[in-house]
């Protein structure tokens, strides 16, 4: 190597445009080719400069997506908390204003309700409801898969951008009203979805949700087939309606849990905060009831009347959004039913064990076997498995 060569090399290494272009993976190749063309006699030096840079540069490290996501959640939480402290005095005023709005809004919204057209239901019926191919279908037909243990999806205000597990996707949006996205949550996972209006939805395992990327109509309508928990952001004069096949839930800004299982003909809504109006839609009378917090309205097999159930500790019913079941004297057979639905597995329990109740915290791992084993230990039962069916029976071993 001659010293002359190194003069050219060091010139390159000290040049801003060389270093910034070469370190950008999207520009690097093109830039280097152009440079070689510009200095055909200096190709060797260019390669040397590039390799010297490689030597100077330390190895690329990347950190796990999960780690990044967990930290980002902390950041948004911290920012929201700091905001809250800063604006306490404003908060009181806005809070009163919002309460008034909610009351007025509920009066108006019933007018909208019966005039709303059925477009979203039509769309839901036409679309494939194949739960076995989970993922997100965008308005342009693109299908995105969802990975990660606790997937999150966040939409921008106009619905054109969304972040799935930290990576940004862009979709075309129009002002048309009949553009929808469809989300199918994989079995064993709960998806944390933030819609364009700020409404948060925890879509439970194996459930299907259809919604417009941005809400352009007078009514915010979404369609649910399965289970989801909602924290609806209040928007002036824009009621929010969760439609299901048999029963709709209409709200302004509140927290509630909807279960819509067409297969079992079981539909229910549990209210945690605020006020909602339920209306049954299969019968001619369109039976309507309003719920208070802690109440669960439901319609069951072949019935058209909405019944109301008082639920103790409603928070326990929605603990799955945090990735666990909080159990307080929960009947074992009902719990296993929920788990079977969540993981799409078959579980059998001898009749003698159905009166059994169980309490505690059950982590919802990705693998149903771990969860069922936890239950077996908790309830002192024996778990066996035969061809995708899990059997519980009394533990024969006697421990002294």
């Amino acid at each position: 190597m001659k010293t002359e060569n190194w003069n050219f090399i060091t010139d390159l290494l000290l040049d801003d445009s060389f270093t910034s272009n070469v370190t950008d993976p999207s520009l690097s190749h093109q830039y280097v080719e152009a440079l070689k063309k510009e200095h055909p006699d200096k190709e060797k030096e260019i390669v040397m400069a590039l390799n010297t840079m490689k030597g100077i540069k330390s190895e690329d490290k990347s950190y796990s997506m999960e780690h990044k996501r967990a930290m980002w959640d902390k950041i948004t939480e911290k920012a929201a908390l700091t905001n809250k402290k800063r604006r306490k005095s404003i908060a009181l005023f806005v809070s009163i204003a919002a309460t008034v709005l909610l009351i007025i809004g509920l009066g108006i919204s019933s007018v909208f309700y019966f005039t709303g057209n059925e477009k979203i239901e039509q769309y839901a019926l036409n679309l494939s409801s194949d739960i076995s191919t989970p993922g997100l279908i965008l308005s342009d037909g693109r299908q995105l898969s969802i990975q990660g243990e606790q997937p999150t999806i966040t939409y921008s205000e106009d619905g054109s951008k969304l972040i799935i597990d930290g990576s940004l996707k862009v979709q075309k949006t129009t002002s048309r009203e009949d553009v929808y996205n469809q989300l199918i949550a994989p079995y064993g996972k709960t998806i944390n979805l933030t819609l364009s209006d700020g409404t948060r939805v925890w879509v439970s395992s194996g459930s299907r949700l259809i919604y417009p990327p941005s809400f352009n109509r007078k009514v915010r309508e979404i369609y649910l087939d399965g289970e989801a928990y909602f924290e609806v952001a209040s928007v002036k004069n824009k009621p929010f309606i969760v439609k299901t096949e048999k029963m709709d839930t209409k709200v302004l800004g509140t927290k509630f849990y909807v279960q819509a299982h067409a297969k079992d003909d079981m539909y229910s809504t549990l209210l945690l905060e605020g006020k909602v109006v339920l209306s049954e839609k299969k019968s001619k009378s369109h039976h309507e009831v309003s719920l208070k917090p802690g109440q669960q309205g439901y319609v069951n097999q072949n019935q058209n009347k909405i019944r109301i159930n008082e639920v103790e500790n409603p928070e326990n019913k929605i603990s799955w959004i945090h990735g666990y079941f909080r159990l307080e004297n929960e009947r074992l057979d009902l719990l296993l039913k929920r788990i079977a639905k969540y993981y799409n597995v078959k579980i059998t329990l001898p009749e003698s064990l159905t009166p059994m109740v169980i309490s505690g915290k059950l982590d919802l791992k990705e693998n149903p076997e771990i969860v069922l084993n936890d239950i077996a230990v908790l309830a002192n039962l024996e778990l066996t498995q035969k061809e995708k069916i899990y059997f519980f029976k009394k533990n024969e071993m006697i421990i002294n």
Partner: protein, 194 residues
């Protein structure tokens, strides 16, 4: 403009679009910030705290809309915040307290399937840099070749003029390219000219 809007029951949510923009900056810059921070301290908690504080502050007002080079802005505030946190944590230990910051390049052993020659090349150059350059020079080298920053951007981070930034880089690289010991070692490598 407030970057927040009222949600319900005293709960605040941040402006969504703005938050999403910040999120994409966060996710693209995370690796760079983290490995930059690693050069200052081995305490991962301090690095994570610094990253968090930078983004929380950005989120709390819309000032970033007026900044034209957001990536560099994030780097500058991250460096300031990290140094502040490190000095704060050292206050408890009077003997250990430092005024002047030390930037030491920590070249770890590579476990990736990278080729042998590149490994050797890297170790030759890093050994040279550690022995023969000051921490300030090393930081310029890092910002310029690892992050690909321009002199103007580097000068804002190190709070020196563009000219002295350029001079410092020039001296470092020229000195390196004329070090007979180093050149001799590099010559033995095939990779360099391939």
């Amino acid at each position: 403009m407030l970057s927040i809007k009222k949600d319900k029951k005293n709960k605040y949510t941040l402006n969504k679009e703005y938050t999403n923009e910040l999120a994409s900056i966060y996710y693209t810059q995370f690796d760079a910030l983290y490995s930059y921070g690693k050069r200052f301290t081995s305490d991962n908690f301090l690095i994570e705290d610094a990253i968090q504080n930078v983004f929380v502050n950005l989120m709390l007002d819309d000032k970033y809309k007026k900044i034209d080079n957001i990536r560099n802005y994030v780097l500058v505030s991250f460096r300031n915040e990290l140094i502040r946190l490190i000095n704060k944590s050292r206050k408890h230990d009077l003997l250990d307290q430092v005024n002047e910051f030390e930037f030491t390049s920590e070249y770890s052993e590579n476990e990736n399937f990278e080729n042998e020659e590149l490994k050797i090349l890297r170790s030759i150059i890093s050994n040279y840099l550690l022995k023969s350059t000051t921490s300030r020079q090393q930081e310029i080298i890092y910002l310029k070749y690892d992050l690909g920053l321009t002199y103007e951007e580097i000068s804002k981070i190190l709070k020196i003029t563009i000219e002295s930034c350029r001079t410092l880089a020039y001296r470092t690289i020229k000195k390196m390219a004329s070090d007979p010991e180093l050149l001799k070692k590099l010559k033995a490598l095939k990779t360099l000219s391939q």
